[in-house]
Symmetry: C2
Subunit: 297 residues, 2 copies
């Protein structure tokens, strides 16, 4: 039996997931608040749904890949009415980055309506999403991983099973965002520290990538700085949101997170300077501004 | 003509450099404030010098690999009298981690005595030091790199030439220490954030090592946390010193370094809790303490 998958939120990540599912032979109904992405999905072999409820109706799985928790809540329980439109027993795959507490609460509300949920945030970026090779950090009942293995395989190269309880997937995503956000900010701090003292940025990049100071973020985003290219592959405002989730979760759990707090402040400053939609490597510009350093190329 | 190399400071790093030079065919005279290391070097084919001046006398190169700038100054210009004992025209290779300003001042003082200097801090740890496969981040006159290529090759797998001016090598080392120290602290912050919320540490380690939140430090030191093994491979107090150099250099150059400042504070706290000589992965224990989390294995 061919399964039907609804995908709500056809941004760079959701579209890649939808198209990967089409390629794997699923019937895919996509919805986005903008009309263009649904049309593009239809051209790629999927179907454009006119509403969230239309994407959910008759679906075995509804993937929610919107921007934040407020949108996810609206899609499922608010104006979208997605949960009410889903057949009994079907699955919501909550894949946007949300606070663990929101994931737990959402799972409870869905269960009360006779629906299942996987807390299943993803990582990997738009290119890996298009390839169907994301990482999924998911938690939920073990039987769900078996039942929906084909869906997970279609979108992901790695499926990390973080436990049975909804929330653990989102905790794992938050840990990754804490580290990645701090490393990205540290990259900005280090680049300006070196440039102000006369170090060639390309040489700095080469040495650090081969040394104990290296990180995935430094290696990946450092190239954007060297190229003076701030076309957003991941935007500054993502970090205002995701580090905000980390700190909110820290506050609820009485966890002091001084590095994450500093990184968050720096991204808020970048956003305040009009850089919210620039590539997140633009965090270096805030350090350059503080230091009175000119950043070019 | 066989060159003679004096090595002052036969700790884990200096001893490895001295023995690598012995293997490469140099005459090596080593000095340490403790008597044991000199004896071990002699057994390995080198010579134990009874004083700094004896290690420097007749040497083509004097490698200074002591703990900090105060010791380096004493070795060269204070009670050690190393600079005065060196033949005219010979080279001081300043390889301990010091502030760039100290490296510049030292080069000036040596030049006034007719001596050359390479500002040549190293990275890579005791194992790579013993193998002769360190990374050297060096600055100084180009002719010095040519003249002493054999010495550099004996101790290093990578020689990064950071420019002609003394100080640039130490700036590059400081950049690496800024990043590595922040990443190490972020690792502690992230581990406790995850553990407090019920994530299995081994699973967290596996996911992060394969994700955008990864860093060289997380991958390397995270294993020490998983093994509950705080035998020092690099000690907490190294970071009190090295991040102190980063911040002192930042202050001189009017560079705000908020992440490095936080990381420094956390290492000072670890030192205050009696962990100064433990492995630097013990930074996680400070976060655990703050969060009221038990850390074991």
């Amino acid at each position: 039996m061919t399964q039907t998958i609804g995908v709500v939120g056809l941004g760079a990540m959701g579209m890649g997931m939808a198209q990967s599912l089409v390629r794997a032979g699923f019937v895919v109904k996509g919805y986005d608040i903008a009309p263009g992405p649904g049309q593009r999905l239809a051209e790629a072999g999927g179907h454009a749904a006119a509403t969230v409820a239309e994407a959910a109706a008759g679906a075995d799985v509804l993937i929610v890949m919107v921007v934040n928790a407020a949108q996810a809540e609206d899609v499922l329980f608010g104006s979208g009415g997605g949960a009410a439109a889903l057949p009994a027993g079907s699955l919501v795959m909550l894949s946007c980055t949300v606070a663990p507490a929101f994931a737990r609460k959402t799972a409870d509300r869905l269960a009360a309506m006779g629906l299942e949920m996987l807390d299943a945030p993803v990582s990997g970026g738009p290119i890996r999403s298009a390839e169907g090779s994301l990482s999924v950090m998911a938690s939920g009942a073990p039987a769900l991983f078996e039942k929906y293995a084909g869906v997970l395989e279609a979108i992901a190269a790695n499926v990390y099973r973080m436990g049975d309880a909804p929330g653990l997937g989102s905790v794992m995503k938050s840990i990754n965002q804490l580290l990645a956000g701090v490393h990205l900010t540290a990259m900005g701090e280090a680049f300006v520290f070196g440039i102000k003292q006369g170090i060639d940025p390309r040489q700095m990049y080469e040495v650090i990538c081969a040394s104990a100071g290296g990180s995935w973020m430094f290696q990946n985003r450092g190239e954007h700085i060297l190229d003076n290219d701030y076309t957003p592959r991941s935007a500054v405002d993502i970090w205002g949101k995701d580090l905000g989730i980390v700190l909110e979760t820290g506050r609820e759990n009485r966890l002091a997170l001084p590095l994450a707090a500093i990184a968050h402040q720096m991204f808020l400053a970048a956003s305040a300077q009009g850089m919210g939609r620039m590539d997140d490597a633009a965090i270096v510009k805030i350090y350059a501004q503080l230091a009175g350093v000119e950043m070019e190329g």
